[in-house]
């Protein structure tokens, strides 16, 4: 049953906005416009309900919540019971629920009886049995025996062949459905994907899809969770478990920077399903399908279960299992040697918990004596490094940073370098809520209007890659202090763009927030996984900050010079300037230059790899440590808002340890070798305590390094455009396009592995081209860049920024960074051979 928890109001409700009503003899004052069903909750009365959902518009369809209203507040009563889910309170109103009114009780019993006449008695085999609002409320508000299908009446129930697939992930058992419309209302009102609808009429009315048009929504799984009966089930979970056999543990999504609350339901040490957690400040009650269904990546055969070391006695030098202590020792010896041979770089990826990130940050400084540490396993820049230090680190809701709630009150939200539906689904839902409520305009600086932008009624400022700084500058007249600018991590690849965003915010008073893709990115900034920042946002370059940190850590000094960023670490490894590498869950294909990263891993004298699963990097590593997935350890993510989102371990797997434990073991061994200091913590709790002790930096922050967009890029783009517009004959240069790209929510990402149903709901990869390009090169195009070629079906975007072509970043082959070119760089377009003349 979905009820509204009492939520702490952010401000005191004005006395005049309160309405006093009497419910079952108890007076209660509630804000005006409160629905009677919610007012009743305030006096502890649970009126039974099905169609009602606090986040969906009232519909009054199921009629289960009928109550008696002897006085509507005007001295007159309603002659008939009223649906409390659609009736707003009025001053002086008197309401009698089933608790005190025989009329209301009979009305509810009557509706319940009618709901059940056509409902199958298959609770023992129904997924929902045990957590079913219908089952529960039939017990509390229904009669024990049926008058419809008893021996005397032998009523004939409505039956349907079952079940039908609404999508590859969502199934519908029609005969269980009570057509409360929660699912269709969610699809239309919340997700904006009305691909399920009521079809047929009357007793045959059911939920349906159009022929060959499944319910493909990034948010489809939510309908399963809010279904008040067992009509909607998931392919993944159907018949797998019973609710009462599950243990539920609260968690935080590891798939994006939303910080969305999830509930991990597990049985006998295995995750069976994940549900949305209810967190009004963050994800309300919704999560993306990736957050919900993508958990099997941790359950595959390639999961690393024990440490491995490269066998010195094996002529082939193969990896062999090792004990944890042996692996610590081998790693420490190798790293000590590598440190002597030029130093060790640390690449931590974007998926670490803050506690683990903190351990890497400290390990680099105290055990390896280096600031060569970077979490960014993606294109990045020095401009971004400075931006993170000056504008991102140390911000959060407490210090006035942009929050989800702020998105609902903003007059304008500018999206740049960020496709919210793909890259930040929870933000997308909140923005959509805000837009539908009226008042918020979304402006997107993007190459074309995406489906997500359409659903936000966003205004497109068609922007070619590289043109973002100019486009941002162009908004200066439109924004003010009620505006919010959300910048995506992709802006790091556009010189001058983050500078322009910061300038725009400064000039207009608009508030600025940085939205990375990965769950660990924001926390890594705070934890000090940057070459310029120590934990707590302390600038490496600031002697005071170093002393502060060194004192807290009990070490004499910390490395003084700012370190290499990820690209520089890669370059230094290739050049032999660095002797070793500690790498945590980095997929070279995600990095600025995949080939260079692979070469760096190869070239490194000594590699310690941490990963959940076996990869090409772990295969190459000298020591491999398994890491715990988020379900197996406690941790914290800091979401894009800067909000701290901690969770405790759901599963207890003795061989599945947080990385900080292994790093601590290695540090101990290094210290024993006379290298550096111990970490000083071995558990998440100890790490948290130390971090709390250290606290945030309260001194000067890093300055923003202003970077101006190179003028040549824009003019080059423009001249290219003008040639296209002028309809110049196709020459060798007129088939040059600027590559735009981002990752779709569902793609080839390794953390979506193992769920074929989820995979089947991914959008079909296409190249988005202009109408002219479609005419000239379509319907299948080949794009060729400096790293290779890919061929994709072409799809037209009428408003595509001139001279641009868009492809999904990681939906085909090894991803575009490896197989095509860097986003923002030129590619050539041609009709695919054999498909188009």
């Amino acid at each position: 049953m979905t009820t509204t928890p009492e939520r702490t109001a952010t401000g005191a409700v004005e006395k005049t906005d309160l309405v006093t009503v009497t419910i079952d003899g108890v007076q209660v004052s509630v804000p005006k416009d409160t629905l009677v069903i919610r007012a009743a909750e305030q006096v502890g009365v649970q009126v039974p309900r099905f169609c009602d959902h606090p986040l969906l518009a009232p519909v009054g369809a199921c009629r289960q919540c009928l109550v008696d209203v002897p006085d509507a507040g005007n001295g007159r009563g309603f002659p008939k019971p009223q649906a409390s889910c659609t009736l707003p309170v009025a001053e002086g109103m008197v309401v009698n629920t089933q608790v005190t009114s025989p009329v209301a009780d009979k009305a509810q019993q009557g509706v319940m009886e009618l709901l059940l006449i056509n409902h199958p008695l298959d609770c023992p085999v129904c997924d929902k049995g045990g957590e079913c609002p219908l089952q529960n409320q039939a017990m509390s508000n229904g009669r024990g025996e049926s008058r419809f299908s008893d021996d005397r009446n032998r009523g004939v129930k409505r039956t349907f062949p079952k079940p039908i697939n609404l999508s590859p992930t969502v199934l519908l058992d029609r005969e269980r459905c009570i057509v409360c419309q929660r699912c269709t209302r969610f699809a239309e009102e919340i997700a904006g994907d009305p691909f399920i609808a009521l079809v047929e009429r009357g007793a045959q009315q059911q939920i349906g899809i159009a022929e060959d048009a499944p319910f493909l929504s990034y948010f489809s799984g939510n309908v399963i969770q809010i279904c008040p009966v067992g009509a909607l089930t998931s392919e993944r979970y159907r018949f797998r478990s019973r609710p009462f056999d599950l243990v539920s543990s609260p968690g935080i999504t590891e798939h994006d920077a939303s910080g969305a609350a999830i509930r991990v339901d597990h049985r006998r040490g295995a995750v069976m399903r994940r549900q949305a957690g209810d967190d009004p400040a963050v994800n309300e009650e919704w999560i993306t399908d990736k957050d919900r269904f993508a958990f099997t990546y941790a359950q595959g055969d390639d999961r690393l279960a024990y440490p491995q070391v490269r066998d010195q006695d094996d002529p082939a030098g193969r990896l062999r299992p090792a004990s944890w202590p042996e692996a610590f020792a081998v790693a420490a010896r190798g790293l000590a040697a590598a440190r002597a041979a030029g130093g060790v770089g640390v690449l931590t990826g974007g998926r670490l918990s803050v506690e683990d990130a903190y351990a890497y940050a400290k390990f680099a400084r105290v055990a390896l004596g280096t600031n060569d540490i970077d979490f960014r396993a993606r294109p990045h820049s020095a401009e971004e490094t400075a931006f993170l230090g000056s504008r991102v680190a140390l911000t959060g809701p407490a210090s006035g940073a942009v929050t989800y709630g702020d998105l609902e009150t903003a007059s304008t939200v500018v999206l740049v370098g960020l496709e919210v539906e793909d890259e930040a689904g929870t933000i997308f839902l909140r923005l959509r809520k805000s837009v539908l409520a009226g008042g918020t305009e979304v402006v997107a600086l993007a190459p074309f209007t995406t489906r997500g932008m359409e659903k936000l009624s966003a205004r497109l400022v068609a922007t070619a890659p590289g043109a973002e700084p100019a486009a941002l500058a162009g908004l200066s007249g439109e924004l003010d202090a009620t505006s919010v600018i959300l910048v995506g991590e992709r802006l790091a690849a556009v010189p001058g763009a983050l500078t322009a965003a910061a300038s725009l915010a400064d000039a207009t008073g608009a508030r600025l927030a940085w939205v990375p893709r990965r769950a660990g990115d924001r926390g890594a900034v705070e934890a000090g996984c940057l070459p310029t920042l120590l934990p707590g946002g302390r600038p490496v370059a600031d002697p005071g900050a170093r002393v502060d940190t060194a004192t807290a850590w009990g070490v004499d000094h910390l490395p003084e010079t700012e370190g290499r960023d990820a690209d520089a670490i890669v370059a230094a490894l290739v050049a032999g300037e660095l002797g070793g590498l500690v790498v945590a869950g980095v997929d070279p294909a995600d990095t600025t230059d995949p080939a260079a990263t692979r070469a760096a891993v190869e070239a490194a004298g000594f590699v310690v790899a941490f990963d959940l699963r076996r990869t090409a990097v772990t295969d190459r590593a000298d020591v491999v440590f398994p890491v715990a997935p988020t379900s197996d350890k406690a941790g914290t993510f800091v979401n894009w808002e800067g909000r701290v989102r901690s969770w405790e371990a759901a599963l207890h797997n003795p061989s599945s340890l947080p990385e900080l434990r292994a790093l601590s073991g290695i540090a101990d061994e290094l210290a024993a070798l006379g290298q550096g200091s111990r970490l000083g913590f071995r558990t998440v709790a100890e790490a948290r305590a130390e971090m709390a002790q250290l606290g945030p930096w309260d001194g000067e922050r890093l300055p923003l390094v202003e970077v101006r967009a190179p003028a040549s890029l824009e003019t080059e783009g423009e001249s290219e455009v003008s040639r296209l517009v002028a309809g110049a004959p196709r020459t060798s240069t007129t088939d040059t396009r600027l590559l735009s790209s981002w990752k779709l929510l569902l793609d080839n990402g390794v953390m979506q592995d193992g769920d074929k149903y989820l995979k089947a709901t991914a959008r079909i990869p296409v190249a988005v081209v202009s109408p002219a390009d479609f005419d000239a090169f379509g319907p299948t195009v080949t794009l060729t860049g400096d790293r290779g070629s890919i061929t994709l079906a072409a799809e037209i975007a009428d408003d595509l920024a001139p001279g641009v072509v868009w492809v999904p970043a990681n939906s085909v082959g090894g991803g575009i960074l490896a197989d095509l070119a860097s986003p923002g760089s030129p590619v050539t377009i041609s009709g695919a051979e054999g498909v188009h003349g």
Binding site: A61, C62, L114, I117, G202
Partner: protein
């Protein structure tokens, strides 16, 4: 009935139905058609509303809500466009007045639409006609086209500065679209399922704009009110149910058909005009205003057929759809068939109506087949109690009317089914051709 300065029948809307081409503009104009437009345009819109209020005209689609008052609910300070929607989705079983009206005299509807739209300051009006009556749709389409050609519609009508466009919209088969908010859903291209009220259509109706929805006969009554004055209209009918209305007699009467008379006429008087119950038979039961209005019997022959009179005997005037059944008809069969209709037409939105009609049909079928016991009758009434007033809209309520009222009046006949082990009636005796057995059977 009031002071009789006129006949028992008062043809106003039906007055052109015997003309050679009653549907043509020329025919209508020859009888003064469209003259009321200039009268209306010479008045302030609010005065037109007042005139309709003063006439006492109440909705002719069944609800009987005062038409002028409905118009006055339109908030004129609302900047959104206002709309007039004519409910021509005549589907209530027994109701058959708007269809011949639009077929025989579509221009009186069009003129009424213009005056009514002017009064509420709408510049766009819609006539939502049920789809299953294509020739009616043709006639209304043609009338609208003629009215445009004659300058009665379009820009600056009659030089008044007032603009109006009218769209004739065909439905597609859904009784529920007679419910005004379901009709709006249909008109917006959606499933015809009723909307939550409030907001009422007067505030947020079509496209969430202020909207008046009136029945065909209500709107068609407006030109004569404007032409002849509110008092003229109010001189007909009874104290609270004023004016003329079309009474539709069907079933076992000698002369079924449309009888336009002042409200308050009785069934006895109407039967007298219609030649009585068919030869050799007696009245058994009848509906005063369609199948959703509780059944009445021969005891109610002298009830004044106005809103108060019929309400006073536990039924409703409804649409004055007088379906007459004689003693050959099995009331259980009749009620079962209506119940099947409600099941078929239930939109599915709410539980009591969707599931309730499913159950009612099964329960009644058992009774009609002579199965069960008297306790089942009480259970049936309890089911009705769980539907009546619990449904989202009035369709569910309507579904219970024939059942409750028939058990009230004919409980013994239900019991006779049980003791007889089935229906004791011969359906062949009820047919239109019964007693004229020329065909072998």
């Amino acid at each position: 009935m009031t002071e009789s300065t006129h006949g028992a029948l008062t043809p106003v809307l039906t007055d052109t139905w015997d003309a050679e081409q009653g549907w043509k503009l020329d025919t209508y104009a020859a009888k003064g058609g469209y003259d009321a437009l200039d009268t209306a345009f010479a008045m302030r819109p609010d005065d037109v509303i007042t005139a309709v209020k003063d006439s006492g005209l109440r909705g002719r689609g069944g609800a009987g809500f005062p038409t002028g008052m409905k118009w006055s609910f339109i908030p004129q300070d609302n900047p959104k466009p206002k709309y007039l929607v004519v409910n021509a989705d005549e589907s209530e079983p027994g109701t058959c007045k708007d269809i011949p009206l639009m077929m025989g005299n579509p221009h009186v509807l069009v003129e009424g639409v213009i005056i009514s739209s002017y009064a509420i300051r709408a510049n766009k009006a819609f006539i939502y006609i049920r789809g299953e009556v294509v020739h009616v749709i043709r006639r209304v389409q043609a009338a609208v086209a003629e009215a445009y050609a004659a300058g009665h519609l379009g820009k600056d009508i009659h030089g008044s500065g007032y603009d109006l466009d009218v769209v004739v919209h065909a439905g597609a088969g859904a009784y529920i679209c007679g419910e005004e908010t379901a009709l709006l859903e249909g008109l917006e291209g959606r499933r015809g399922q009723p909307r939550l009220r409030p907001p009422f259509p007067a505030v947020a109706g079509l496209y969430a704009s202020p909207t008046v929805i009136n029945n065909v006969e209500s709107i068609a009554s407006v030109p004569a009110i404007i032409r002849n004055g509110a008092d003229w209209f109010a001189s007909m009918g009874t104290e609270k149910s004023k004016g003329h209305g079309i009474f539709s007699l069907s079933g076992h009467v000698e002369r079924p058909g449309q009888y336009e008379a002042p409200l308050g006429i009785t069934l006895a008087e109407l039967l007298d005009l219609a030649g009585g119950i068919r030869q050799g038979h007696q009245l058994k039961f009848w509906t005063p205003g369609g199948s959703s209005t509780p059944l009445l019997t021969a005891d109610h022959l002298d009830v004044p057929l106005d809103f108060e009179g019929v309400g006073g005997v536990g039924s409703m005037l409804g649409t004055r759809a007088l379906q007459i059944f004689d003693e050959t008809v099995c009331v259980v069969r009749a009620v079962l068939r209506w119940t099947e209709f409600y099941k078929h037409e239930s939109c599915g939105k709410c539980t009591p109506c969707r599931e309730g009609t499913w159950w009612l049909v099964q329960a009644l079928t058992r009774l009609e087949n002579g199965q069960g016991s008297e306790a089942d009758l009480d259970q049936l009434l309890d089911q009705c109690d769980n539907i009546l007033g619990r449904s989202f809209c009035a369709l569910g309520d309507g579904a219970t009317s024939p059942i409750s009222s028939s058990i009230q009046h004919f409980r013994d006949e239900y019991l006779a089914h049980l003791s007889h082990g089935g229906c004791p009636f011969d359906p062949a005796r009820s047919t239109a051709w019964a007693g004229q057995e020329v065909t072998a059977s």
